[in-house]
């Protein structure tokens, strides 16, 4: 049943995806409103799907696909919060495609739950998942904002009259969205990694943690880049091109760390 709701949500997000592509070439107030409503409706289905999973009694989020679904939901929540504050749907240009992709993968099939029986501290696990996903969502939005910043900067520099009527919010607003997400995401990410370590160390079946495991290395790399981003921004106000490079790098590292779920031995916790 949960999968069905998720597929409804996917249908709604598809509209958002189309919007993301259209918004780059033209500005349409009506379409952005349609996309917004579709996204909200999608979130309702999505929430129902997640709630059903939760009510099934186990912390079944710990399967990779359910994790993807949850991450997509967090990202959408983030997007909605930004919309509530800044009245702009423009981060959707980056967020919608990613959310659609995540939901699409998650809606393919239901994976067997592999994790929970090995974990002794369920509370830590939930904390780990929630924290790290919030960090990921913030990073995604920050990455999106830095791309939009770049785009808006190019438009303003190109000095075409259309730069006045573009769908993008003001440069400083984009900058603020990106910076605030970054600042918000960093502690979540840090705590998420710490709780993750706790879960791993205390997992009874593993006992010994291999620090050369790709999942751990990539996570540390992502965290390091994240820290560099926060630092350069705070210290010398890096933005624009340089910030976008860093954000892209952090995002790729995050993707790699995520993808490591598929080949890491420790995160999969499967024999």
């Amino acid at each position: 049943m949960s999968l069905l709701w998720l597929r409804f949500a996917l249908g709604c997000y598809l509209i958002g995806l189309v919007y993301a592509f259209v918004a780059l070439s033209r500005t349409s107030d009506m379409f952005s409103r349609i996309a917004l409503h579709a996204a909200s409706l999608g979130m309702v289905f999505h929430f129902v799907s997640l709630a059903e999973l939760f009510l099934s009694g186990q912390v079944v989020w710990a399967s990779v696909h359910n994790g993807e679904s949850l991450l997509a939901f967090f990202s959408m929540t983030f997007f909605m919060i930004i919309y509530a504050i800044y009245q702009t749907t423009s981060p959707g240009v980056v967020v919608f495609p990613v959310v659609f992709f995540l939901t699409f993968v998650a809606a393919l099939d239901q994976q067997p739950v592999l994790l929970t029986q090995f974990v002794s501290h369920q509370g830590w696990l939930i904390a780990h998942i929630v924290l790290i996903f919030t960090g990921y969502a913030a990073l995604l939005v920050s990455f999106g904002a830095s791309l939009l910043y770049l785009l808006q900067e190019r438009r303003l520099k190109a000095k075409r009259p259309t730069s006045l009527i573009s769908f993008l919010p003001a440069l400083e607003v984009i900058d603020q969205i990106g910076y605030r997400s970054l600042l918000l995401g960093f502690p979540f990410m840090t705590l998420g990694l710490i709780t993750g370590s706790v879960v791993a160390i205390t997992a009874p079946t593993i006992g010994r943690v291999d620090f050369l495991d790709p999942k751990i290395l990539l996570s540390l790399l992502m965290w390091a880049v994240y820290m560099i981003m926060v630092f350069t921004r705070w210290n010398s106000g890096w933005r624009g091109r340089r910030a976008a490079f860093l954000a892209t790098f952090a995002f790729v590292a995050a993707l790699a760390a995520w993808a490591a779920n598929y080949f890491s031995t420790i995160h999969r916790f499967a024999s």
Partner: protein
């Protein structure tokens, strides 16, 4: 109607070319003098604004080498300049002047500033005697037409101007202008206007730097701002988020190294430069820096062009006014051409009449007042009757192309001396020095 006009404007020539042609205010009188001394030119005037440089002349024989004048005066090679030049003669020149004065040829159609600039150019040329009868008439009419366009159409009414476009752009960069600082470099009317717009949208404080410190103080007081000594410009400029610069400096005053300095001190927070100076104050390589957004006068033009569409309808109405005014002016000018002939014809006949009466008086002896009146009435009556047809013919002919022929014939028939004609021939002697 031997008007001739040559020039460049924001549409025909890029800023790089206009920069080379720009004439500082102080050099304008000399340029006008040089122009009138050029062969074949009777009267001349130069309009030099940041968007256009135009030379208007009334020529002796309908064709003067204005291109040659520009090459000579600005020491430019023909291939450098000629592709950007436009040239109008007679009716087309009149139309162009009317359009310029009415702000239909402006970067921002309908902006009011151009009329003042043309008036200033006119006053300058007049002061040095470069504008007399013909150009005087042309420009007086142009000013009247501009007024008519302004009152009868809505071309000038919309708030779109460089200033409001600057505000719009600033909002695209900063979102809200609340709490942003503005720096005016080079106190001028246009920068003052832009500053006023920015302040009206919430900008917090204003700094003014000017070569003449007193002017900086004067302008700063108007906005409750702070005057900055020009030497301190680079040290304090980073305080500003928006810089409006319009100095008359011959070279860029903001160069790449300055931009890097500002950004370092501002922790890379963006800066918006509104560069309305020609030549530009912000060097192009500084404008390339990340975080520096510099819009020169041409870029602002592009930004406003999207608004221009809204005004197209009003502009069409204005163009119709211009067309009818050009016709009227042409008609009036040629009518005026026959007026001196009519006057001298009347003078001529009056002299004859007086002479004849004097002669008759000698023979008849003293006349009674009644007789005096009768003779007076008789002679006048004859002259008026005889003259009626020739004068009507002259006036009718004036509106057609044969005017000059008819005028010539009448002058030759009555052996009329042309007082006005003497002036240009003298001018020719002055003009033809090689």
């Amino acid at each position: 109607m031997r008007f001739q006009l040559i020039g460049v404007n924001h549409k025909s020539a890029p800023l790089e070319v206009r920069e080379k042609l720009a004439i500082p205010e102080s050099r304008l009188p000399d340029t006008c003098r040089d122009l009138t001394a050029y062969p074949g030119i009777e009267e001349g005037m130069v309009i030099s604004t940041c968007n256009r440089v135009e030379v208007v002349a009334h020529t002796t024989n309908g064709s003067a080498d204005l291109r040659g004048f520009l090459h000579e005066h600005f020491h430019l090679k023909p291939e450098e300049l000629d592709p950007h030049l436009y040239e109008f003669r007679e009716k087309d020149a009149v139309r162009h002047i009317f359009r310029v004065a009415s702000s239909l040829d402006s970067m921002v159609v309908g902006e009011a500033q151009i009329l003042g600039q043309v008036k200033e150019a006119y006053a300058t040329a007049r002061a040095v005697g470069a504008v007399r009868g013909q150009l005087d008439q042309l420009f007086s009419r142009a000013f009247a037409v501009a007024k008519r366009v302004r009152t009868e159409t809505a071309v000038g009414s919309s708030s779109v101007s460089i200033a409001s476009v600057a505000v719009e752009l600033a909002k695209k960069i900063f979102g809200t202008l609340q709490g942003k600082n503005v720096f005016i470099v080079g106190a001028g009317k246009m920068s003052e206007l832009a500053a006023r717009h920015l302040m009206a949208h919430g900008c917090a404080s204003i700094f003014v730097a000017n070569r003449t410190y007193d002017r900086a103080i004067g302008l700063a007081q108007k906005f409750n701002g702070q005057a900055i000594k020009f030497e301190d410009l680079y040290n304090s400029c980073d305080k500003a988020d928006i810089v409006i610069t319009s100095t008359g400096a011959p070279h860029a005053i903001f160069r790449r190294e300055h931009g890097e300095q500002f950004l370092a001190r501002r922790k890379n927070r963006p800066m918006f430069f509104i560069d309305i100076a020609v030549p530009r104050d912000v060097s192009p390589d500084m404008a390339k820096l990340d975080g520096i957004f510099a819009y020169d006068i041409d870029d602002l033009q592009q930004a406003v062009s999207s608004h221009v569409a809204d005004r197209r309808k009003e502009a069409e109405l204005a163009e119709a006014i211009i067309t009818s005014e050009v016709e009227r002016f042409e008609a009036r000018l040629s009518t005026l051409d026959v007026v001196p002939t009519i006057v001298s014809l009347q003078d001529h006949l009056e002299t004859i009449r007086q002479a004849e009466i004097d002669r008759v008086r000698g023979r008849l002896g003293q006349m009674t007042p009644e007789q005096e009146i009768a003779v007076e009435a008789l002679t006048r009556g004859i002259i008026n009757k005889v003259m009626h047809t020739p004068i009507t013919t002259l006036k009718t002919a004036a509106k057609e192309s044969e005017a000059t022929t008819v005028v010539d014939v009448v002058r030759r028939l009555f052996n009329l001396r042309d007082k006005d004609a003497a002036a240009p021939s003298k001018k020719d002697e002055v003009g033809t020095r090689h």
